[in-house]
Amino acid sequence: MALLEVKDLSMHYWTRKGEVKAVDEVGFSLEKGESLGLVGESGCGKTSMALTLLKLLPENAKILKGHIFFYKEFQPQTANALLGEMVNLVPQKANGRASTLGRLTRIEGEKLLVQPARNGATKAPSPVSFSFSEIAQVGLDLVPLREERMQRVRWKGISMIFQAAMNSWNPVYRVGDQILEAMQTHLPKTSVQQSKKRIAELFQMVGLDPRMMERYPHEYSGGMKQRAVIAMALSCDPELIIADEPTTALDVIVQDKILREMRQIQKQLHMSMIYISHDIAVIAEVSEKIGVMYGGKLVELADTQTIFERPAHPYTKALMSSFPNLKGEKKKLEALPGEPPDLISPPTGCRFHPRCPYATEVCKEKDPVLEVRQPGQVAACWNPLH
C-alpha cells in the first residue's frame, strides 16, 4: 500500500543570479513500512527535495508543479476533514474504476463528490461520484494544501531529522523540555504526564538513559545529541520520517550503532523512511530502494540490490565506481571528468551529458524521462546500460 506518491514535482529557488532548478520533475512512490534512500552529490537537490515534501521552504522557493500525495486508508468518519482539499481517490482493487484526482467538493450521505482538475480543458469536467464502500485509499495532495492544514501533517504524519540537527538544540533549555514543547504543540490533547512518559520510552528506544531528559545539550556528546534528535522525530508517532544526513557528522562506530537502531525502530513500528545521504555505503545498508539524484533530477530508482548489480543509468554506475570499498578486491577508481552542473543554467537535454561517457547527439537536445528498465527499476537515459 502506497504511503507517499510524488508526481512530476518541481521546486525552484529564485536568486539574484537566476532561477535555481533544484527539484525538477521528480516522481517516485513509497510503500508503507518501506525505506527509500536518496543519494547524489552535494547540491543535487536532496535537501531541497526533503524540504519540498514537508513544504518547509524558504521565501525565495516555489513549488512550480506536481503532486505530493500522502495516502491514508479511507475512513468515512474522517471524510469531513478532507472536504475542500485536492485528493487522489484510489478505488478498491476489485472495483475496476480508475483513481481520480480532484477537489473533494461534497459529501452526500454515503457518497463523495470529486471535481476533477480541469487540466487545460476549457469546460470543467463533470464531478465524479464515489460511494464510501468503493474507496480504498485517499491521497491528500500536500502541494496545494494551506499552511494551517500542513502543520497537522508535519510531525504526526511526516517528521524530519534535519541535516546537522544535532547542533540545533537550544543550549539554555533541558533536552527533555524541548521535546516536550514540540509534543505539546503538535499533540495538544496529550497530557504533560503522558508526554513525559512517552519521551522516557523514546529515550530508552534510541539508547539514551531517560535521566538525560533533565540534562542540557552541552552535557551530551555528538552521538547523544543525534539520538535525542531521533527521539524527537519519533515523538508524535509519524508514519514517515525523512532523515537528511542523519549520521554524517558522527564517528563511524557511533554512526553504525545509530543506523542499526533506526533501522530496528523503523521495522518495529512499521514506519516508512526516506534516508538522504551522499554516502552510498550508508544508504545501501539502511534502504530497500535507492533513488539517485543528479542536478535536481531523479535519474534512477530501483531496489538496492539492482542499483548495485545492474545500474541502468551511467551516472549511477559512475557513482558506484567512484567509492572506495573496504571489502573485496582493491581496484583503481574512475574519476568522473568535469564538475557537477550549475542549476541556474543546467546543460540542455540530459543534465549529465557533458560528463557522460555514453552521451550521443540526442542527449544534448532532449531531456530523457524515467522509463521502466526491468520490473522495479526506472531510469532516465537515452542510452541506458541495459
Binding site: S221, G223, D251, A284, L319, L326, L333, L336, P340
Partner: protein, 372 residues
C-alpha cells in the same frame, strides 16, 4: 642550542636511505582551562608517546576517530606545533647549527664539527627542533601540509596565481617569468587546465574540488619530499574526490613524495595508503601494511572500527562488534590502556598495568594490547 651567541653556521647534508621521516616518543599536551582564574593542572594528552617512520615515496595513513590526535600529529611533523617531548627527524635536512663563540681559533673547527654531528643521528637524520634561519627555510620548502578545508586554507583576497606563487616569492626563487612558468606547469599537473582560465580568479570563484587542487599545486610548487595531507578530500564531492585522490597517487609515483595521509575514512585509507597507523586517544594502537590491518585487524579497537564501516554492497553482511561508551578526551589519562573503559576484551592485567607497548607481531604488524 640555548646559547644565543653565535657565529659559524655549519651545514651538514645527509645521505639517502629508505626512510625519510622518523618520529620518536613524540608527545604533545595542551593545558585544559579549568575555571576562570585558575590555570589548572589538567592536560589533554593529544599525542602521547608515539613513534613511527615514513619511508621515501611511502604513504602512511593515520586513522582514528575525531579528537584522537591526528591533526596534532600532522602539525608536529611540519613544525606548526612544538612537541612537549620527543623528536621528529627528517632525512636530507640541512642542519644549520649555531655555535657559541670560541676563544681559541684552533679549537673552532673541531668543536663545531662535534656539536653539529651530535644533532644528526648516525644514519643521517636531523632533529627538526633545531632548525633555524636558512635551514628552517629549506625545511619549509621540503615539507608541506594540505588542510581539510579548501575554503578556509586559501587566502580569499589572493588570486590563484598569487596563492600558488607565494611560496616561490617567500623563498625568493626564480625570476617573475620563471615563476609564472612554474605555476602554469603545476596548474597543468593538478588538472586545472588551461591554466589561463584559472590563474586570475579568486578562490570563491572555484568549486571545492578545484580549490583543493589549488592547495595541492601550492604545496607541490617547491618540490617537497614530504607532505602531510590532513583529510584532503573529506569536504569534496564523491566524483571530485576520486580525481583528487588519483592525483595525489600520481604525484607520489612521479616525484617519489612521501605522505602522511590523515583520514577518518577507512575505505579511503585502504585506497591511498601503503601502511596504516590506527590512533586512539593520542596513542598508536596498531600499525602495519594496509591490507594486513584491513583484512586481519588485531587490536580490539581496530576490529570494532573496521566492523562498523558500512559496506556499499548489499550482499555483504557485517558482524558489528559492540563497544561500550564513546570517545572521551584524554585529560590526565590513567596509567593504563587508553582503551580499557570501552574494551570488550579487557582483563585484570589491563586494569593494573600501564598502557601496553606497541609490539611487532611479525611482518611489520605492530599491536599495543596485552591480549593479542
Amino acid at each position: 642550542m640555548s646559547n644565543p651567541e653565535q657565529t659559524n653556521p655549519v651545514i651538514i647534508e645527509t645521505d639517502r636511505s629508505t626512510s625519510l621521516v622518523r618520529i620518536q616518543n613524540l608527545s604533545k599536551t595542551f593545558p585544559v582551562a579549568s575555571g576562570f582564574f585558575r590555570k589548572g593542572n589538567s592536560f589533554i594528552h593529544a599525542v602521547d608517546d608515539i613513534s613511527f617512520e615514513v619511508g621515501e615515496g611511502e604513504i602512511l595513513g593515520l586513522i582514528g576517530e575525531s579528537g584522537c590526535g591526528k591533526t596534532t600529529t600532522g602539525k608536529l611533523l611540519v613544525k606548526l606545533e612544538t612537541p612537549t617531548s620527543g623528536q621528529v627527524f627528517l632525512k636530507n635536512t640541512h642542519v644549520e647549527v649555531k655555535l657559541p663563540k670560541q676563544k681559541a681559533g684552533v679549537a673552532k673547527a673541531t668543536s663545531a664539527k662535534t656539536k653539529a654531528i651530535s644533532l644528526v643521528t648516525s644514519d643521517g637524520f636531523a632533529d627538526i627542533a633545531h632548525l633555524r634561519g636558512r635551514s628552517l627555510k629549506l625545511f619549509r620548502r621540503n615539507v608541506q601540509m594540505i588542510f581539510q578545508d579548501p575554503y578556509e586554507s586559501l587566502n580569499p583576497r589572493m588570486t590563484i596565481y598569487d596563492i600558488c606563487a607565494e611560496p616561490l616569492s617567500v623563498q625568493s626563487i626564480g625570476s617573475l617569468m620563471e615563476r609564472e612558468a612554474r605555476v602554469a606547469e603545476l596548474m597543468d599537473l593538478v588538472g586545472l587546465t588551461p591554466p589561463e582560465t584559472f590563474l586570475f580568479r579568486y578562490p570563491h570563484e572555484l568549486s571545492g574540488g578545484q580549490r583543493q587542487r589549488v592547495a595541492i599545486a601550492r604545496a607541490m610548487i617547491l618540490n617537497p619530499s614530504f607532505i602531510v595531507a590532513d583529510e584532503p578530500t573529506s569536504m569534496l564531492d564523491v566524483s571530485i574526490r576520486t580525481g583528487v585522490m588519483n592525483l595525489m597517487l600520481e604525484l607520489r609515483e612521479k616525484f617519489k613524495i612521501s605522505y602522511l595521509y590523515i583520514t577518518h575514512d577507512l575505505a579511503v585509507a585502504r585506497y591511498m595508503c601503503d601502511r596504516i597507523a590506527v590512533m586512539y586517544l593520542g596513542k598508536i594502537v596498531e600499525m602495519g601494511q594496509t591490507e594486513d590491518i584491513i583484512q586481519n585487524p588485531q587490536h580490539p579497537y581496530t576490529r570494532a572500527l573496521i566492523s562498523a564501516v558500512p559496506i556499499p554492497d548489499p550482499s555483504v553482511r557485517r558482524q558489528p562488534m559492540e563497544l561500550k561508551g564513546g570517545v572521551t578526551k584524554p585529560i590526565n589519562p590513567k596509567p593504563r590502556c587508553r582503551f580499557y573503559e570501552r574494551c570488550p576484551m579487557a582483563t585484570q592485567r589491563c586494569a593494573t598495568s600501564d598502557h601496553p607497548p606497541l609490539e611487532d607481531k611479525g611482518s611489520g604488524h605492530s599491536v599495543a594490547c596485552y591480549e593479542v
